[in-house]
Symmetry: C2
Subunit: 185 residues, 2 copies
Amino acid sequence: MAVLEINFCPSCGAAVEFRRPDDDNRPRHICIACGTIHYQNPKMVIGSIPEWEDKILLCRRAIEPRHGLWTLPGGFMENGETTSEAAIRETLEEANARIAIGDLYSMYSLPHANQVHLLFRATLLDLDFGPGPESLEVRLFGEEEVPWDEIAFRPIKYSLEHYFADRRKGQFSFHMGELSAPPRS
Amino acid sequence: MAVLEINFCPSCGAAVEFRRPDDDNRPRHICIACGTIHYQNPKMVIGSIPEWEDKILLCRRAIEPRHGLWTLPGGFMENGETTSEAAIRETLEEANARIAIGDLYSMYSLPHANQVHLLFRATLLDLDFGPGPESLEVRLFGEEEVPWDEIAFRPIKYSLEHYFADRRKGQFSFHMGELSAPPRS
């Protein structure tokens, strides 16, 4: 996700300049009329690993990027919610699935994309799930059924690899990592 | 921190309207000329608990809010960095202190403020620290010396309470919580 270009002050509509404020150590977009400083900061992408017995729930994407590939339910955290609420909401929106949130399981920083991805373990509360508008298909997968070559995003793939390895060990632990920009294809 | 008012398109400078996009479930600021949707999302505030033997490092704030009160080094995560890098940078900026990052220790959601606060345990690498421009004073504190009534922010206070309780138990574990708006004073 590219950073939005700021050419005009969202507050008053005047032009902005890109310079370092007096009490800051990096350049910001500053309005030449009202002086408002427009900060840009990373966004959080939050999802869940919905568990049902020995299976987990994956969604096949109906939207770009990565249309047709599989992922865990998740998306951008919204203002006014908690991290758990974001995971519950995204799981409901993308998979029509109700979950109880468990432990925080993974956190990946993607500095090239200005994103931090969080995944929570979660318990699926019933089997009455199905694709929301952003999913083509929603399915439970056992470890041996996971479509490893068709996982949409690296933080999801790596988290799932840790997840099944942890499960075989009988001990889940939190995983943290960082990912640089993928090679251009 | 209030959400910035968006009246004009930062991209093209035209007026924006606040309405629900066709494929969305909540209203957004949308440019009436170029159609760009301007999303607003929570920001991450990231800090460290710098440890030196049985003491931790606190900073006395030289800026508002909470001028003169004590806090752990931390601040808003910037674009282009990882969560660990943010904690290291903020600790260097506010306390001129070098740290090695340890485990993620706490995560608090503040939905009223559109913020998520993360704290990492960290090891102070040397004793050559001192106040940066945003600090009046930087000091090591043993548990019995912590100025509990002068801690600037609730996520810091609660994390430190967990921290010393965990230390007495001999076992540190990750803590997650959410905080609603404080009563107006």
